[in-house]
């Protein structure tokens, strides 16, 4: 006899010895209880009218006890988790998408080597960077939570990043930037990098022309990477929506410029357009499908085109130095620039251009930051007559202009807030 046989025998014997069936003396109580209980009507049992094949499955379903305690516990855990997530998300500041319309926030500017912000409604100023040395060219990140600026201290030119209250300073590491272009400072959509154009290192020997290149500064570690974009001139533009590419203009010959696109994860850049004198970049449309290009025509008349870099097709617009609104629906630019300059707004993809300013209120086109849209597209910001009138807000619908309380302070960068 093996162990299993023995244990089965022992078990059977033990059951029989310890549980001899005896009719309990409370049988009458049970019968009394059942006599008081009403039977369920026969029609209320699905087994009585459902097909026989269905009944066993149904019976298993109905007889399986629902683990209510577990269900309630799981539900409580899910609720707790949802509450924690809601609390976490709610505690984080809401930020706008990197592209598209946003609410108007603070305006940032530099003054006497310090960085200031001003409340656009109250005019209240706040100094956010008081570091020794010269600090200039503040630029809000696309989500409005940080500011990048150029910082000159101890003979070195660095790119610095802080939170909007001046805390959390990060400086670019490595060599000093040589002749950085203040207009070139551009935040990536995800806020991880800031692009800046400066002379490449090392400097050419025997006093040759310096090579210009785009540097990317890691905004959390300060590490600097050379994108190796020889001849880059003026500002680069991150391509919406993910910012994996940068569009820039580079010198291709003594008097020629070409449009180039570089993938930040791959070496080398691709030429997008043929060389053309006076070519200038005007930024991406918010959907990243077209790039705004500013040309000088053969007859000496400036115009704007919307170029699809993948197909090479473009849409030409009879305005100069156009700037596309944050919602991508309108473009503001100069009409009849050579004669009497008029600033006008045109719907995209084209049509009549409605004047919004003439005469003294038309800004100097050479000032890159002198023509821009407010984050909410409610205003076109201009800086006419080299600032003699201060900063003005023009109504793109043709209404009267506004001289804001911060008119004398300038708009080097306008903070975007969540709508």
């Amino acid at each position: 006899m093996n162990g299993t046989d023995r244990i089965e025998r022992e078990l059977t014997t033990w059951f029989a010895d310890t549980a001899t069936p005896q009719t309990p003396d409370w049988t009458a109580d049970i019968l009394a209880a059942t006599a008081r209980t009403r039977q369920r009507p026969r029609w209320s049992f699905p087994a009585r009218w459902l097909p026989a094949a269905v009944v066993p499955r149904l019976a298993r379903l109905t007889l399986t006890p629902v683990p209510w305690r577990t269900v309630v516990l799981l539900a409580a855990l899910v609720l707790l988790l949802a509450a924690a997530v809601a609390l976490y998300v709610g505690s984080r500041p809401r930020v706008p998408a990197p592209f598209g319309p946003a609410e108007n926030g603070l305006v940032a500017y530099a003054e006497l080597g310090e960085i200031w912000t001003v409340d656009t409604l109250s005019g209240e100023r706040k100094k956010i960077v008081t570091l020794t040395g010269g600090n200039e060219a503040p630029r809000f990140s696309r989500d409005g939570t940080r500011v990048a600026f150029l910082r000159q201290a101890g003979g070195a030119q660095k790119l610095a990043i802080t939170n909007t209250d001046g805390s959390g300073l990060v400086e670019s590491k490595g060599e000093s930037f040589v002749q950085p272009d203040t207009d070139s400072i551009a935040w990536s959509p995800d806020g991880r990098s800031v692009a800046v154009v400066a002379n490449a290192s090392p400097a050419p020997v025997l006093g040759g022309a310096p090579r210009r290149t785009i540097y990317l500064v890691d905004t959390t570690r300060g590490e600097v990477r050379d994108l190796d974009t020889p001849g880059v001139d003026v500002e680069p533009y991150w391509r919406p929506p993910n910012g994996r590419q940068l569009m820039y203009v580079a010198q291709t010959a003594e008097d020629d410029r070409g449009l180039f696109i570089v993938d930040i994860e791959k070496p080398g850049a691709d030429a997008v357009s043929v060389s053309e004198p006076g070519l200038r970049p005007g930024g991406w449309t918010p959907n990243g499908e077209q790039f705004v290009v500013h040309h000088w025509g053969i007859e000496g008349r400036p115009w704007t085109s919307l170029l699809d870099p993948e197909t090479g097709t473009d849409v030409s617009l009879p305005i100069a130095f156009g700037r596309v609104s944050n919602d991508g629906m309108r473009i503001v630019g100069y009409e009849d620039f050579i004669g009497e300059p008029v600033l006008c707004v045109m719907s995209l993809p084209g049509g009549d251009c409605a004047p919004i300013a003439t005469g003294d209120r038309v800004p100097d086109w050479e000032h890159t930051a002198g023509l821009q849209w407010s984050p909410d597209d409610r205003w076109v910001v201009v800086y006419p007559q080299e600032g003699r009138l201060g900063w003005l807000l023009l109504d793109p619908e043709g209404g009267p202009p506004i001289t804001p309380v911060w008119s004398e302070r300038g708009v080097e960068s306008w903070q975007r807030l969540a709508p």
Partner: protein
């Protein structure tokens, strides 16, 4: 009158027929409940609940010949519910043998029975139910599976695990495997 007739009449509301069914089955049912629950009072409550459910739902029983299996299912489910509800409340179970042993080596028998009792108490309620239905009621394993409403494989594995657990409690003479060496241990 046979059981089938009694079941059909009880299903049509004849309480006398149901009383006859109770009289014929309550002793065995009470013993099953007592074995699974190891407590007289709990067993009494479980049996009462099972009969009340049986009376209430008897009109829905399509196959009167399966009354016994159906009644055992009601009872076992009631017992398992009882144990689940009381799992967080430790209960000292009553261990009063109803009949006296009748074997020669009384000391050895008592020692083995104590171990068997301890091992049985340590089993999951589901495993206890399988053992009771198979070795006490005498149901085949497929019948046990049908009574419990579980697949045959589940009933077989519960039975196997229950026996293995009892063997471990009772020792090598009942076929228990020696404890394996720990990795890196010294023989």
């Amino acid at each position: 009158m046979d059981q089938r007739d009694l079941v059909e009449r009880a299903g049509r509301g004849d309480h006398d027929a149901f009383s006859a069914l109770v009289g014929a089955t309550i002793a065995g049912l009470e013993a099953v409940a007592r074995l699974i629950l190891r407590d007289h009072e709990l067993a009494r409550d479980a049996v009462q609940d099972a009969y009340i459910k049986a009376w209430r739902d008897l009109p829905g029983l399509r196959e009167p010949d399966r009354f016994d299996a159906w009644l055992h299912r009601l009872l076992v489910n009631t017992c398992l519910d009882t144990l689940r509800k009381r799992r967080r409340r430790p209960v000292e179970v009553e261990l009063a043998p109803i009949a006296s042993p009748s074997v020669g080596d009384e000391t050895g028998w008592i020692a083995d029975r104590d171990q068997l009792e301890r091992g049985f108490r340590r089993l999951d309620p589901d495993q206890r139910a399988v053992l009771v239905l198979h070795y006490y009621v005498g149901m085949s394993v497929p019948m046990v599976a049908e009574t419990l409403g579980v697949p045959l494989g589940t009933a077989q594995s519960r039975l196997g695990r229950a026996l293995a657990a009892l063997r471990t409690t009772l020792g090598p003479e009942y076929g228990a495997e020696p404890e394996p060496l720990q990795r890196g241990g010294i023989a």
